[in-house]
């Protein structure tokens, strides 16, 4: 894995002093971290440490839950995400959930869904091309043997996960956020996702949330640890694993 210096790479998302709380519980506090373009940015931490909540705050999905209070700033390409229409922001920042959630319709319609909502009408053959491309980017097209009429819900778990990635990719987001993409998968499907994440960063900026340190070692360019609701440490691929910070050592020993 190529080492990069933090300073030279362009920041796509900058999170400053982020705090997320409900009425009686602080979920995240004092989170300052950056997401770098065309890299795999990994956020690790024990389960329940608020990683998924962080992702949901980045595309403003979190604000649909009135119990959540968010303070601090999140800049997407230097612009505060509060200045975006959420609809637009979510087009630029795709989110794939931990549990695959294909819609009960064909693979084709699943992938086309975002485009039909967000995009101007395309000619049939253009639409086909765009959808095939998204499925290829998600490394699913070949596996389906071109059968895009089958129900998305009838695919295997790993295929469903990649279908959801294709569904997000079709909008050509600048950032693709993956929430624990391997947690529900068997080893073979996991392997495929690892390869996929590596290839995705050629075109997209990837934010990966996981507590799987094996996966992190394999794919992460920049690793951030969120521990007990607080942002604790960051580092490039190898740096992070050699960190002397107490929490990182604790977490790594627990995770392995």
């Amino acid at each position: 894995m190529e080492e990069k210096s933090v300073e030279k790479v362009e920041k796509v998302i900058e999170i400053e002093k982020l705090k997320i709380k409900t009425k009686n519980k602080v979920i995240l506090d004092r989170v300052d971290l950056n997401i770098f373009r065309n890299n795999v940015n990994t956020i690790v931490g024990p389960s329940g440490s608020g990683k998924s909540t962080l992702l949901r705050s980045l595309n403003r999905l979190l604000e649909m839950d009135p119990a959540m209070e968010v303070t601090g700033d999140i800049l997407f390409e230097k612009r505060n995400i509060r200045d975006f229409d959420p609809v637009e922001l979510r087009r630029e920042i795709g989110l794939v959930f931990q549990k695959p959630n294909p819609f009960p319709m064909s693979v084709y319609d699943n992938v086309a869904f975002g485009l039909r909502i967000q995009g101007k009408k395309l000619k049939r053959e253009e639409m086909d091309k765009v959808i095939v491309q998204a499925l290829e980017d998600a490394d699913l097209y070949e596996e389906l043997g071109g059968n895009l009429k089958q129900m998305g819900t009838s695919l295997s778990g790993g295929q469903q996960q990649r279908l959801c990635i294709a569904r997000a990719l079709v909008l050509r987001p600048k950032v693709l956020m993956l929430d624990e993409p391997t947690s529900a998968l068997d080893p073979i499907a996991k392997g495929k996702i690892v390869d996929l994440i590596r290839s995705l960063k050629q075109k997209y900026t990837v934010v990966l949330v996981t507590h799987d340190m094996n996966l992190t070692r394999k794919v992460s360019d920049y690793t951030n640890l969120i521990y007990d609701g607080k942002f604790v440490a960051k580092g490039t691929g190898t740096e992070f694993f050699e960190s002397k910070i107490e929490e990182v050592k604790d977490f790594l020993s627990e995770a392995d």
């Binding site: 229409d85 609809v87 995009g119 101007k120 395309l122």
Partner: protein, 289 residues
């Protein structure tokens, strides 16, 4: 994996976000207006009926017997509850026991699902068809005459599928382990029914009964030709007609005198208050659980 990312040249153009927002806002506003209008209409009907009843209520109306143009509605109040009670007598045992059969894992699956299907279909029989059936079969063919029994049976046809379904659902909400444990400890079906199903589901059953009572207290079409009408209380279970509130509302409002209208308004108020109270109590006991 080496993915070449064939350059997708198709240019994507986005729909205008502001247009989509406008649509969203219009849907939001329109749906609020429609919901608001609906609630305003409900409340206005509610208030209208309560107000009309309260304006014309007198002690005499509440405390004396009468027909739809003179006297009071005490006979109709008592008659309504007698009919509803009779309906419950006929419909509760088969719904309880039938639901026990349906949820019992050892039952024949085909019979269970057939029972469920018939129950569902029975709820869709129009009430006047039940009324006509009650007249032709119970009142005439089996010589019951207009009576408590005939009226109660006619109401029970409506209550039965309703109760059975609610009771079945509350049985199903009981954790499976409890039932399996009881069987594992050697309990037979009677014991499991009396020690697990009934006590565990009693809130659900009670709320179902309250809802079934609230619906049947408001029914008319089944009763017109099975219960008849009576200026006093029925003297027996058979061949003695029964008064009920919905009849007073229906007939009273169509009669020319204002006193008949007063009786109709008071009856409607009593009906609305009872039905609402029953529904609210049933919700309350479910929530308290």
């Amino acid at each position: 994996m080496t993915n070449s990312y064939a350059k997708d040249q198709t240019e994507l153009k986005w729909k205008s976000v502001s247009t989509r927002r406008v649509k969203d806002k219009v849907a939001n506003a329109l749906s609020f207006v429609v919901l608001g209008t609906m609630i305003v209409i409900l409340i206005s009907i509610f208030i209208y009926v309560l107000n009309a009843g309260a304006t014309h209520i007198t002690w005499k109306i509440l405390s004396t017997f009468g027909n739809t143009s003179s006297g009071g509605v005490l006979n109709a109040i008592v008659g309504t509850w007698m009919l509803v009670g009779m309906g419950l007598v006929f419909s509760l045992p088969p719904s309880l026991l039938g639901a026990l059969y349906i949820v019992n894992a050892k039952s024949n699956g085909t019979i269970s699902s057939a029972a469920r299907l018939f129950t569902d279909v029975l709820t869709s029989v129009p009430s006047i068809v039940i009324g006509l059936f009650a007249y032709l079969v119970l009142v005439i063919r089996y010589h019951m005459g207009f009576s408590l029994i005939a009226g109660g049976l006619a109401l029970s046809v409506m209550m039965l599928p309703y109760l059975l379904r609610i009771i079945e659902i509350s049985f199903k909400n009981i954790p499976k382990e409890q039932i399996e444990n009881a069987y594992a400890l050697g309990a037979d079906d009677i014991r499991v029914a009396s020690r697990i199903y009934l006590p565990q589901a009693k809130v659900g059953i009670l709320s179902g009964i309250l809802l079934a009572v609230s619906i049947s207290a408001g029914e008319t079409a089944q009763l017109i030709y099975s219960a008849g009408f009576n200026n006093a209380l029925p003297t027996g279970f058979l061949h003695s007609q029964v008064a009920y509130l919905t009849y007073v509302v229906w007939t009273g409002i169509n009669e020319p005198t204002t006193y008949s209208h007063d009786l109709a308004f008071v009856s409607a108020m009593i009906l609305v208050l009872s039905v609402t109270a029953l529904i609210l109590i049933s919700k309350y006991i479910v929530r308290r659980k």
